[in-house]
Symmetry: C2
Subunit: 214 residues, 2 copies
Amino acid sequence: MTTTGLSRGEQKERTRRAILDAALGLSEEGGLAALSLRQVAKEIGIVPTAFYRHFASIDELGLALVDESFAALRAMLRDARALPRDSDSRSLVVAIANQSVAALVAHAQTSERHLRFLARERLAGPAAVRDAVRQQVQLVEQELAADLAQLPATRSWSASDLAVLSNLLVNSMLAHVEELGHAAGPADVEHIATTARRQLHMVLVGTLRWDSSR
Amino acid sequence: MTTTGLSRGEQKERTRRAILDAALGLSEEGGLAALSLRQVAKEIGIVPTAFYRHFASIDELGLALVDESFAALRAMLRDARALPRDSDSRSLVVAIANQSVAALVAHAQTSERHLRFLARERLAGPAAVRDAVRQQVQLVEQELAADLAQLPATRSWSASDLAVLSNLLVNSMLAHVEELGHAAGPADVEHIATTARRQLHMVLVGTLRWDSSR
DNA sequence: TGTACATCAGTGAACGCGCGTTCACTGATGTAC
DNA sequence: TGTACATCAGTGAACGCGCGTTCACTGATGTAC
């Protein structure tokens, strides 16, 4: 144990963060299910047994990452919702699409690994983590559906159609985050953002003309 | 080695199939990256070393599964494309959506594990497998874009907008396959199919009104 | 302020286990004559 | 058809390695007086 200027609590928190960050990075190659406690320990320079001072198991670490990741996702959605009321865009829908993609790109820079964690572990995670992600994604979809219900264009929509559109948007959003994660440089990011924007324009302009009563 | 009525070649092929099937099933829990050669061998009742008579490594097995899975995906798309020309549906777009979802449900029954394998390993697979899946998905998207370009409604669309819509459709399709994989029973399958159909109606009816020139 | 004691994050040895991979082998299937 | 030999899918022992987990420990930080 080395001497630092930090209090015991501060040092413990610092190690906990290092574990979470290392797990987030290392799980990008093969997923959380293929991650070992010893890899994490080696990465951050602690002895494997020290891991147990912070988490009871890899699964518990995974659930902590699920919590953090959904905080990031919700922060992104909060920004996406924050429409400039004095928007000079040609229509409300276009303004929504632009604002949403702006939030996506901004949060992809700070929370990219967390958001990709969700997309990945939803499909490939250990059962406990996978189920937690699925449950939380469902909640996020419900929240988004409630947002969509506020739009004038969805006045006559059924609840199930709102859910269907919300599901489409959440899935697409996570897919775009994944693409941003493989971006080669700033120019590539801009290209992906442009594509995402155009796709969202397309879907929203199209679907918001949708008549839920058929 | 037991005596069977099979020729050497037939028996070898049978073991190879058993390895592929076992890998497909076992990789559902945690992904291919968390799968071990010994698990596969134990599952099908051969000794671990016998694996090497069929594949040089787990990665090579993974690439074989990628090939099989894309054959399944392409077969599904072929059926989705096979529109009944004398359709009595209210519009061409609705007929397309219905036919596509019918193909999805039909192939989800026979190829469910292969299709879910693609969705999962595209995000969480070992690097070699992940890259192979991504490359093939891109090709499938291009093929679908070429299909979409045949529709009267896309006559004025740009190539990039066709690609954007194609990307949306492929992502959504894989998401629906994933949901079908967790269906509880026949009633649940029907519910998911209904949702998928409605979503596809929504998107196609909406976007095919889209004016690519803005 | 100084001292004596408690706390507890991180250490290091040790364990049994499953891993991928090597190697020489066995014996049923296949083939040449 | 029968015999002698070749092929090769599957066997089983062995290896060194990384795994999760246990346990008693160390020594800096924190606290009571």
